[in-house]
Structures are given as structure tokens and as C-alpha cells.
């Protein structure tokens, strides 16, 4: 399997570490909503088909990628930097200041 790192280009899967379901939402750090924390820590989408997942290019530039990959064919339809997810970034930022 080859994963295209936006920085390094297509690289063999051996250079990557899988970090799982990319749909998980980490609650606000100060949240006391245990159900939300439980869901974040333990529950995973596990679709048979396209899956939005996080990979780290740990054997390369070490960036985290957001990859859409089909779990039936292993075909990858998109990949990009995980930190490009600006919405999430903005949300955490606002909390960090509050």
C-alpha cells in the first residue's frame, strides 16, 4: 500500500503509523461529560467502505495525515495534512483562551 504524504509524496505503508478513526471528536479539555469522553476514547466508526482516518508519517516527515481509504479495497481516495482541519483548530483555540 502506498500513502501519498502531501510533503514527501507517495510512500510505502511501512513508513506510517495508523492512528485510527479520524471522526472522533475530543471534548473540550475541561468537559465533564463522561459519555462524550467515553465515546471519544472507546467508540470507533468502523465502516466497510470509505473511512476517514489519521495516519502519521512516522518514518518520514512525521506529519499526521487525514486519509480517506476504502476498507474493502484499500484504495485511497484522498490524503492531506491533518492539521489542515482549521475548524477544529479554531474551536480549540477559542477554548484555550477562555
Amino acid at each position: 500500500m502506498l500513502i501519498t504524504c502531501p510533503y514527501c509524496g507517495p510512500r510505502d505503508v511501512i513508513e506510517f503509523t495508523y492512528q485510527g478513526d479520524g471522526n472522533r471528536q475530543r471534548p473540550q479539555p475541561s468537559s465533564q461529560d463522561l459519555d462524550a469522553w467515553n465515546a471519544y476514547v472507546y467508540d470507533r466508526l468502523n465502516p466497510a467502505g470509505d473511512h476517514n482516518e489519521i495516519w502519521q508519517h512516522s518514518g518520514g516527515c512525521r506529519a499526521h495525515l487525514r486519509v480517506v481509504r476504502n476498507t474493502l479495497t484499500h484504495e485511497i481516495s484522498s490524503s492531506g495534512f491533518a492539521r489542515g482541519d482549521h475548524k477544529a483548530a479554531a474551536r480549540h483555540k477559542s477554548e484555550a483562551k477562555s
Binding site: 500500500m1 503509523t17 472507546y42 470507533r44 468502523n46 465502516p47 466497510a48 481509504r69 476498507t71 484499500h74
Partner: protein, 419 residues
């Protein structure tokens, strides 16, 4: 149906083997059953068998989407052991082990369970202590375990490199003598034949496409062979749990589906007479009765339902194999295959009522489901029949994760690919 024995073999040989009957019938589904078991693998079939045998519930259908035993029961490396660290696991798997010891007779089907032992190699003092902890934990629950010295290990497996110059020298090992291996397909076929003889309908090529509901309650399933109603619907579809639960409207579970590869070499004269695991990586090996070395290693490490493996794991497994057995470099890998494992967040299974009314769930076997086949079916049948778990499976609930009651034998936390 005829009993299997040496005598029946001889008798049939004289009649040209013309009188053997199908090992199980091929019935069409009825409109309704008391219990539907989804999944014609080892666990589903054993569940049906024990529902009939232990609880007298025979109006049961087992629905299999493909051919019987096409999932992990026919894709594993056949190890049977109960050498766990944590008591909840050890008790359950030891119950399974005791059932294995009598399984061929119980089923009148030789599942070829051979108790050749399972040896975990230790390579550092810390690891040796870990194994001692585990072995002592087993002994305090009445399970067999022994520490082995390097000299004893060398006598048992002469092909092993026990030299001090190895990159990770062997310091000793933990042996469970009663552990062993079995003929995986025979387990599925034996349970199928046994369940069939007790009246269970085994329906192949019958894929569940949805659940019938009355409000929240599950009242049956729609399938590629029509709708089938049931008082109770039990899932034993490890590897496909995510897919089937999604049909019931539950799309998040504490489970990821991962591929685990397995390998076999060409047939060789006997060279390894036990099951062996490497302590400084992830590698296990045994030799089948046919002579092939059967071995495997770590998960491929990403979600997949594809039953196809990736190359880096192939290389890793072979590298670790030769670190233990440098004499096997010229032996050849003949076949590889992949199975899809339900990896839970603590590495332990789920056998429970619910999570929906009318539903019963058996899943999350990670890559250790084969050895659990008898006890899993036995406990699940109990849970279905009595609507409550047996003591053996009481810890294996779905809510244990959320309550902080995980059964984490490896101590890896909520990282399923590391269990």
C-alpha cells in the same frame, strides 16, 4: 446419521464410500425460529450446538452469508491455550480448554486437538518476570504452567537458536503443557454436524441484509433468502461485527476491524513439536500434522474488511522467524492469507445480552477467537437461553470500557491495533 468410527470407515470402504451422507443438511429457511444465530463460523455453530444440547432449544437457525466456516475459524493458526494474565480471561479460556479436551468425543468428530504445549520465549529478565507473573497467576487458578530453562527449551525444539550470540538471546520460557493446536475446519464441520443432528437448521449463502424491528426490539432479520422472524437474534459475526451492527443502526462500537495474516510453509518432516512465541517481536509458530509450518505475527495495523494482507508484515514475520530459526532460511513460504479480526479496546471479547432488546452479542475476539470456540458458544448459549450471563462471561460486557473495568491483558489501553 451414522456414527463416525474406524469401523464405519472400514464398512464404507467395502461399499466404495458410496453410503456416506452429508455432514449437515442444506435446508431452506423457515418463516420463524426461537433463535437465529447470525454467523456460521465456529462461534455461531457452537452456540447453536450448545443451545440444542445444553438448553434443549432446537428451533434454531444459523445463517451464514457464504460457505460455512468461511470466516476466521478457517483462517487462524489453530492455537488453543489458556495462558492469560488476568483472571477473567484465564477462567474463561480454561473453561474452553477443558471443553477442548473432550471435544472430539462430544462431537463424534475428530477435531485433532493435540496438546503439544505452548511455549512463550523470554529474552530479558524483565520479560522473564512478566511470564513468571503470568504463569503464577495461572497456577493460582488451577491452570497448568511451568517455567523452562534454556537447556530444556533446546531439548524440546532443537532447531531453535538458543546461543548467547543471538540478537535477543533466549533466557527461558513459560510453557503451558496442556495447550495445543487443532484442525480448524474440523471444528466448524464437527459443530455443524452436531448441531444439525440435534435439529438446528444451518443455512448457507444467506446474508443478513437488515433487522426486523418492533420499536426498539429486534424481531427477526431480512436476508438474501427472505425475511426470517425469531424471538431472539444472536450475533456471532466476529470480523464483520461493524457491518452487521450498522444494519441495526449502531455505527459506533469499541471495535476496529483489522487484518491478521497467517502463513504456511511447504510440508516438512517434523521439526517443531510445540507452539512457540517470540518475546522480542510478534511471532508464533507451530507445525501442522501435514508438515507445514503454520505461523503469523502482528496485525497489518489498519482498519480493513478485505482479507488481504500487506507486504511489510510479511517481511517482519519472516525476519522474526529466522531470528529464532536461522536454519529455516531455505524453507519456503507456500501460502498466505488474511482474516479480519474484531479488535476491541482492551483485547478481550464481548459476550452479552443486548445492546438492543431481542439482540445478543458475541464479538470482539481480537485474534484469539479460535481457542475460545467451545466456551464462547457455551457461554453465549447460556446467555441467550437464560437472558443473563454465566459467571464465565459476566466480565465481558459492552459497558466495561466506559466504567473503567477493562480487561487489558497487554496493558496497551484503548489502542486496538496494539492488542
Amino acid at each position: 446419521m451414522a456414527e463416525y468410527s474406524a469401523f464405519s470407515l472400514l464398512k464404507n470402504a467395502f461399499t466404495g464410500n458410496k453410503d456416506w451422507k452429508p455432514a449437515w443438511r442444506k435446508p431452506d429457511p423457515k418463516a420463524s425460529y426461537d433463535v437465529i444465530v447470525i454467523g456460521g463460523g465456529g462461534h455461531g455453530l457452537s452456540t447453536a450446538y450448545y443451545l440444542a444440547k445444553e438448553h434443549g432449544i432446537t428451533n434454531v437457525a444459523v445463517l451464514e452469508k457464504g460457505w460455512l466456516g468461511s470466516g476466521n475459524v478457517g483462517r487462524n493458526t489453530t492455537a488453543v491455550r489458556s495462558n492469560y494474565l488476568l483472571p477473567s480471561n484465564t477462567r474463561f479460556y480454561e473453561h474452553s480448554m477443558k471443553m477442548w479436551e473432550n471435544l472430539s468425543h462430544d462431537l463424534n468428530y475428530n477435531v485433532m486437538f493435540s496438546q503439544r504445549g505452548c511455549l512463550n520465549l523470554a529474552h530479558t529478565p524483565a520479560q522473564f518476570d512478566d511470564y513468571a507473573r503470568r504463569g503464577n497467576a495461572m497456577r493460582h487458578l488451577g491452570v497448568d504452567a511451568e517455567l523452562m530453562t534454556v537447556a530444556e527449551i533446546k531439548r524440546l525444539v532443537p532447531a531453535l537458536d538458543v546461543s548467547g550470540s543471538a540478537r535477543f538471546p533466549i533466557l527461558g520460557g513459560l510453557m503451558q503443557p496442556r495447550a495445543g493446536s487443532a484442525r480448524h475446519d474440523a471444528v466448524a464441520w464437527g459443530y455443524a454436524r452436531g448441531a444439525d443432528r440435534r435439529g438446528v437448521d444451518i443455512i448457507e449463502n444467506c446474508e443478513v441484509t437488515g433487522f426486523l424491528r418492533d420499536g426498539d426490539r429486534i424481531t427477526g432479520v431480512s436476508t438474501t433468502r427472505g425475511e426470517i422472524r425469531a424471538k431472539k437474534v444472536a450475533l456471532a459475526v466476529a470480523g464483520s461485527t461493524g457491518r452487521v451492527m450498522q444494519l441495526a443502526g449502531i455505527d459506533k462500537m469499541p471495535i476496529e476491524s483489522h487484518v491478521l495474516q497467517a502463513f504456511v510453509t511447504e510440508s516438512l518432516k517434523p521439526i517443531i513439536d510445540t507452539i512457540l512465541t517470540f518475546g522480542m517481536g510478534h511471532f508464533y509458530i507451530s507445525q501442522s500434522d501435514k508438515g507445514g509450518l503454520v505461523y503469523g505475527g502482528d496485525l497489518d495495523g489498519y482498519n480493513s474488511y478485505a482479507q488481504r494482507g500487506s507486504l511489510p508484515i510479511v517481511d517482519e514475520v519472516m525476519s522474526e522467524m529466522l531470528a529464532l530459526f536461522p536454519g529455516l532460511a531455505r524453507v519456503r513460504m507456500l501460502r498466505s492469507w488474511g482474516g479480519v479480526c474484531d479488535m476491541t479496546m482492551d483485547g478481550s471479547p464481548i459476550i452479552t445480552t443486548g445492546p438492543l432488546p431481542g439482540m445478543y452479542l458475541n464479538c470482539g475476539w481480537c485474534y484469539g477467537g479460535f481457542k475460545a470456540t467451545p466456551a464462547s458458544g457455551w457461554c453465549f448459549a447460556w446467555t441467550i437461553a437464560k437472558d443473563e450471563p454465566h459467571d464465565f462471561n459476566a466480565p465481558f460486557t459492552l459497558d466495561r470500557f466506559y466504567r473503567g473495568l477493562v480487561i487489558d491483558d497487554k496493558g496497551q489501553g484503548a489502542t486496538p491495533r496494539l492488542h
